[in-house]
């Protein structure tokens, strides 16, 4: 889910950037350092929408760098345990399938796929029901529930399930194109 939040960060600036464009340089550095990163607490920082305040700079002893506390507003994407969301399948194998919802990767294990869906190997690996009416393959849209999250240095990885009420395939590949 997307959130709009106010975060704070201490930005360190080299004296060569001081001058009339100091604030612009600070904001540019903030965007470069922060946009696209992720943390366990905030999730993916998708975009910075504004600067709330830039505090007074403090010179670091011994280096000459100056540290500015910057408060900024941003849009983040953070998945929650128990959240229901819609994702696009990116890969299917006998262990389960991978899907993506925004910048987040989700894995659905075959244990969390309904029992009557079997893995079908081949050129287009997929999970199909016994009557062939429902198929999960690459580019399918599925609704799933997040049951766990893990944060790496640069990405969030989730475990999901479709073995629940109102979960499963929403549309086939190319249905909405």
């Amino acid at each position: 889910m997307f959130f709009h939040m106010v975060l704070e960060r201490n930005m360190q600036l080299h004296p060569r950037h001081f001058g009339r464009d100091l604030r612009d340089k600070l904001v540019a550095k903030l965007m470069k350092d922060v946009e696209g990163t992720c943390s366990g607490h905030h999730g993916f920082i998708v975009a910075i929408t504004g600067i709330e305040s830039v505090g007074k700079g403090r010179i670091r002893d011994g280096t000459g760098f100056v540290v500015f506390p910057v408060k900024y507003q941003c849009v983040v994407f953070r998945p929650f345990k128990g959240e229901i969301l819609e994702a696009v399948v990116t890969m299917v194998n006998k262990m389960g399938f991978f899907a993506e919802a925004g910048p987040v990767q989700i894995f659905v294990s075959n244990h969390l796929i309904p029992d009557d869906m079997e893995f079908q190997p081949g050129d287009i690996p997929n999970y199909t029901t016994s009557d062939g009416s429902v198929k999960i393959q690459k580019e399918s849209e599925v609704r799933l529930k997040i049951i766990g999250t893990r944060v790496d240095a640069t990405e969030i990885f989730c475990i999901g399930t479709i073995k629940d009420d109102f979960l499963g395939v929403i549309s086939d590949p190319g249905a909405n194109s």
Binding site: M1, F2, F3, E35, G36, H42, V46, H111, L112, E141
Partner: protein, 215 residues
């Protein structure tokens, strides 16, 4: 899509009532350890006796074929915490359409700023924008918020409203399945939810008709 039950055609994941086989296929819960910052243990969903149903296009499958569909009480997570309790302060939920508006306006500005090679949007921005714009919904966030406004006085939080709006449920039962935290207030919320969902459906139909008439 309707023939595949994607939006209310076939029944969803549960078997028809009376399928005796399903009760015999109860899976024992398995423990899966996830070593991570927010490590957790989870039990895989126990079959609640209906999990062996044909996994039809159940994303928005209705339950009419199953009659009274039971909730996933047996298989649900032990504690359904409200999302807003985990949020950092100074944060607000955004509906996907709201996020799409904000991100699109940033991208439009990038067209102007794109001559500066130092200014680049990260990959997560593109994937986030694509995700927010999925489904092609053209409803304005303000309109959708107004539709769900009456739910707030029944104790539904902003986060829960955003979750419901993002999912676009077709039935009240779907809402309670998607947001189990609302189940204790089921009796109070049933009617307001029904009204809100009907209004949302009318809005989407009107927007779809408008889009078809202009193309």
């Amino acid at each position: 899509m309707s023939e595949k039950g994607g939006k209310g055609g076939k029944s969803s994941l549960k078997s028809p009532v009376g399928n005796g086989d399903s009760s015999g296929k109860q899976k024992k819960g398995k423990k899966v350890q996830f070593d991570s910052e927010d490590s957790f243990e989870m039990h895989t969903q126990k079959s609640n006796g209906k999990a062996d149903a044909p996994a039809a296009k159940g994303g928005k499958g209705d339950k009419t074929a199953n009659g009274s569909k039971k909730s996933t009480g047996k298989g649900s997570t032990p504690v359904e915490r409200r999302f807003d309790q985990e949020l950092p302060p100074n944060s607000a939920c955004l509906m996907d359409c709201e996020a799409a508006d904000i991100l699109q306006s940033i991208q439009d500005q990038m067209v102007i700023l794109s001559q500066d090679p130092d200014i680049k949007l990260p990959v997560s921005f593109d994937t986030g924008l694509t995700y927010a714009k999925r489904g092609g919904s053209y409803a304005k966030p303000e309109t959708v918020k107004k539709i769900f406004e009456p739910l707030k006085k029944h104790g539904v939080s902003e986060c829960e409203i955003c979750l419901i709006a993002n999912i676009c449920p077709e039935s009240v039962d779907e809402v309670f399945a998607v947001v189990p935290a609302l189940k204790p207030k089921m009796s109070k919320l049933r009617d307001p939810l029904r009204i809100a969902l009907d209004e949302l459906a009318n809005l989407k139909e009107a927007l779809a008709n408008l889009k078809n008439s202009t193309t």
